[in-house]
Assembly symmetry: C2
């Protein structure tokens, strides 16, 4: 089994660790903050790394916000950042659709299960879409819907892709539409497949759970564009032209963050214990992923100074 090196309190080890990397990819929730509470010393740690010439990139699976909406959250929490540093699964999905999937018109529309974040990023990439936050889909299903969905008269023949993200307004009508598009051959994508969504120090249904009825109905799993999918890593590498061997993934979850870094063959992974997983999890038999380094909290890196 791989061994993790504990850095907290060891200035020399922290210095060596920081020197190994040019780029740090940060998960946000559980690393920088929990909900609306920024962890102590996080702003100083980011500034410290930037002052040493390190590139900081924020990688989040939360698809409900676009990069610009995320930037507002960073600002509200007092964390200096710029849009170019933020990489979310909504953006990752939009990039994948426009640059890799490249659906041919007219069958190039995306049926969206999700919130405004996805719509904003699809617009940025000029990808046509329906569904999403459209109020005409935020209602109960009617007998006319059943009929028109079943015979196809209420379906848009131009839909060639279903993109499922976290949708706080999921309902039977949207699931019925999405299922018919998949039956008719639409490509099945998911912004991410997190089963749960952390909120208010508890868990709520995540993007992967909201879209799971479609997996159960079709027997097909979507191509996921969030961590730990390497489609997201490829997109990050393409955008930032980073050297994987000089890049470190920092996160709190073994099954998304740490696995993402390991499978992406990054130079290193750093686990923080301010979120979902703790030391006991990666020391356990059959751990899904083992970080190369770990600290109690992100700001422990300041001890290098």
């Amino acid at each position: 089994m791989a061994q993790s090196k504990y850095l907290t309190g060891d200035s020399q080890a922290i210095n060596d660790f920081i020197d190994r990397f040019d780029v740090f990819l940060f998960d946000c929730d559980g690393v920088l903050w929990s909900g609306d509470h920024v962890f102590k010393g996080v702003v100083e740690t980011l500034e410290f790394l930037r002052a040493k010439g390190k590139k900081t990139i924020f990688v989040t699976n939360n698809s409900t916000k676009s990069r610009s909406q995320y930037l507002e959250k960073f600002a509200a929490l007092g964390i200096p950042s710029v849009t170019e540093e933020i990489f979310g699964s909504a953006y990752s999905s939009a990039i994948y659709i426009s640059k890799i999937l490249k659906l041919s018109p007219p069958k190039n529309k995306v049926f969206v299960l999700g919130e405004a974040g996805i719509e904003n990023e699809l617009r940025t990439e000029n990808v046509p879409f329906i569904g999403g936050t459209d109020p005409s889909f935020r209602r109960d299903i009617t007998p006319e819907d059943f009929k028109g969905i079943a015979d196809g008269s209420l379906l848009d023949p131009d839909v060639g892709c279903v993109l499922a993200g976290l949708d706080f307004h999921i309902n039977y009508l949207k699931l019925s539409h999405a299922y018919q598009y998949l039956r008719r051959g639409a490509v099945f994508l998911a912004t991410n497949t997190d089963s749960t969504f952390p909120m208010n120090h508890n868990f709520f249904p995540g993007a992967g759970s909201v879209s799971f009825p479609l997996v159960n109905m079709t027997g097909e799993r979507p191509v996921a564009l969030g961590k730990p999918s390497q489609a997201m890593m490829d997109a990050i590498e393409g955008k930032f032209q980073l050297d994987r061997g000089r890049t470190c993934m920092v996160g709190d979850r073994l099954d998304t963050d740490i696995r993402f870094g390991i499978e992406g063959r990054l130079g290193g992974t750093l686990a923080v214990q301010t979120g979902v997983n703790k030391k006991a999890d990666w020391e356990a038999e059959g751990a899904v992923a083992v970080p190369a380094f770990y600290v109690d909290k992100l700001s422990d890196l300041l001890a290098a100074a």
Copy 2:
């Protein structure tokens, strides 16, 4: 591999078949009707069997209707029946909760994902419940909900069971409540786990798909009270005091109806080809279940007369 006997057009074989049984369990959709269209000869076939002294029982996984609501459907379609002949998964679930689960008060409330059919049957069995068709759960989730669900202040401490059926009004708020009850130890039941729901000659999300987000979040599968669950067969046997060896299950689906009859060690199973599965399905390698007998359509049994 087991062999199926084809009865259509063979009067002697049909006579022998009918003589083997005292009780016929019928699936409804795909056997008696498709949507609101009753198949030709179905009424005459049922009358023919009853005239021969056979008991007819209708076994349906559709939990959206109670037995009395189902009886109205039978009447509207011109099929003579009585409540006592009808056995639905909502009723099966209510019986299971009141007679087998027997939750001790005060922690004996059921959180319902589903429609009025479930509520009606729970009321018949004097089982207290919340959720279901209550308008206060048929709305968008709010920041106050996130807070109150997370800290438990909006949860009912008396809920000891989550019952998931087909819910045309499924939403994020209901899924969030249901998940928290399961996290707190509530028993997880499903009226049935059909992945799809046939409607208007097409398919829509079934009860098993609507509740699948909870399976994905908890990693736990519910105890299912519909076909092919033997909990339903036990309930039918208990209610009708039938002799399994003299009972035949008639249905169109291998994975629910035919499997239900075989695993229930009934005297026989009869497949009709007016619904989901056809001869090629049970003759295929690795078929989920093989019926003992099959006909083209239910009314082919009239050739015995």
